[in-house]
Point group: C2
Chain length 346, copies 2
């Protein structure tokens, strides 16, 4: 998927690659989600894996940092998160070994690499970089509202954590397969590792939120598409500010609404109902119209991971009829997904 390239050098975080994926000491595949995501979506950016006794594997060749450097790697990427999302003390020696071997270190964890004294000292001595993806780039501007050239698609959602990143990646890949000139634009940690660049939108100071989204998808050729990873939901009582700044600054021509059938209350907020799909479409179009009057909804992406194939297909067909829009699960693909891609590009 080489059409999903990194950002121009004047915008957003830029990551050195290819990566050597670090798996820590994990025995739990759920903790290695980042490594699996990067392997699946950015295979051309990965040369191998290493760990300090992990029993989980990505299936990539096991390499020492020295071997990885010789194979072209330029950074170790921490592909694992333990409970709490912190850098474990038992990992530090591996990162020092990597720095000594010529690799930078990339982390999306909560505490910062640069705040670990041994790492900071080693990186400084060797002229290596410690890259904390959760730290947004400096100098982001206030939004201008100026209409940019090129086409944009934004994945939005009825809630958090229901497949916006996966949907955007799948749509960008499908666009590329059809010969469309496309960039995936990442707005969260794993997305940034996959894309090799991006802006962690939830870490941006709110005054610059829309401005950061403007920087993330700059002027482009008239037939170029940016497919932008969404964040949160306009209906989320904690994160709607992130979602609205991203919507205004992205100026999408097309939104795709991501939804998980059967989820009735917002993740972790049992007192808050998940909004209806229609309401989510309508509010996103209404607010998105402020910076792009031509905004439209291309269709719906369902996360049907909890359903069997026949049940999922029947539901998506019924919902598509009811809403008058394509409804597809980007993981199941098939005809419905192709119809969604058609609708977005039309």
């Amino acid at each position: 998927m080489n059409a999903i390239t990194s950002l121009p050098s004047d915008a957003a975080t830029q990551l050195p690659h290819p990566y050597l994926l670090f798996l820590g000491d994990t025995a739990e595949p759920g903790f290695a989600k980042t490594a699996f995501g990067v392997r699946d979506w950015a295979a051309d950016k990965c040369v191998g894996e290493f760990s300090v006794g992990a029993t989980v594997t990505t299936g990539l060749p096991v390499m020492t940092p020295e071997e990885a450097y010789a194979a072209g790697a330029r950074a170790v990427l921490i592909g694992v998160a333990n409970q709490g999302g912190l850098i474990a003390p038992s990992w530090i020696a591996s990162f020092i070994e990597a720095l000594e071997a010529g690799l930078d270190v990339i982390s999306g964890l909560h505490n910062r690499l640069v705040d670990v004294p041994e790492l900071a000292a080693t990186a400084e001595r060797l002229g290596r970089r410690l890259i904390d993806i959760r730290v947004p780039p400096a100098g982001l501007p206030v939004g201008s509202g100026r209409k940019r050239t090129g086409k944009r698609l934004l994945a939005v959602g009825t809630d958090c954590a229901l497949g916006k990143k996966y949907t955007a990646l799948a749509l960008a890949a499908a666009f590329a397969e059809r010969g469309v000139d496309v960039n995936f634009r990442a707005t969260g940690q794993t997305g940034i590792m996959i894309a090799g660049g991006g802006i962690p939108m939830d870490a941006v100071v709110s005054d610059f939120e829309a401005g950061a989204a403007e920087v993330l998808s700059p002027d482009a050729a008239a037939d170029h598409w940016d497919v932008i990873e969404g964040q949160g939901s306009l209906f989320h009582p904690a994160y709607a500010a992130v979602s609205l700044g991203l919507l205004h600054g992205s100026q999408p021509d097309v939104i795709v609404v991501c939804h998980q059938p059967g989820r009735e209350t917002m993740l972790g907020l049992p007192d808050y109902a998940v909004p209806s799909i229609e309401e989510t479409i309508e509010l996103n179009l209404r607010m998105g119209r402020r910076t792009n009057p031509a905004i439209r909804c291309g269709g719906i992406a369902f996360n049907t991971s909890g359903m069997d194939a026949a049940e999922a297909e029947a539901l998506m067909e019924a919902e598509s009829k009811r809403l008058g829009l394509p409804v597809a699960d980007p993981i199941r693909r098939g005809r419905a997904f192709e119809a969604l891609v058609d609708s977005c590009l039309k």
Copy 2:
């Protein structure tokens, strides 16, 4: 206006006071807006003024830092902004004099006091504080969406910079005059200086925007009112993220819409029309309902500073009839303003 007190110590920035107002070397009253605002709205927090050759005056007694400390002052407050909003090198000696005299220094300017080496060294040597109001407090939580006790009013707007702070201050003062237990909750630099505390909402990381607003107006007695200074506008292509986080986290029972008649395009954005008052009411109520289903609009605050009294009164009467809501200019006061206060409290 002693009902407008500072925040509880576990929430938001807390400022030492009374203040000695610093006017720099300004000859332009417009640059001393902050000093005038603090003098007008927090007279009980001000003991005097000093400068390095300013020709502008607040009318307060001129004092040296030493005299001010003896008169009870505990901080110098920079009440002046030059072009660019930076700390001028010619001011530094005055701040060192103030630190030596026992005063802390408070700034709302863009560059930080703590980044001026002479100030940082002097403050550290003497155990004084350098307080940069634009830096939000550490440890702000993610929003919980939990309904809090007590009553809240939020000033919202059709645009930026049209009187939301003034409206909130005037309403809080009017509530207090009627014997209502009320706090003014500040969300911007000057408001924070007036209140003696608050959170600079535009400087908060967007993931914590709603959470910061929740911290700003904590649980209170059932008949207590927090009157919250608004920021930006849901229709502003750069700042709507700030406005939405503040709306969701504030959970207002009442909004008052601030508007400047005659302003046709958004400040500094000639391609963006100012939304109608009706649309502003409707969108704020719709989105505010997410965290407080009982939200209602108390009325409209007009900034009629460009109009003569008869013209302003006629317009406000006509608009009040058209909208079916009180419309008043909080600077002109009078019967219309009392009607607005009635409507908010009813």
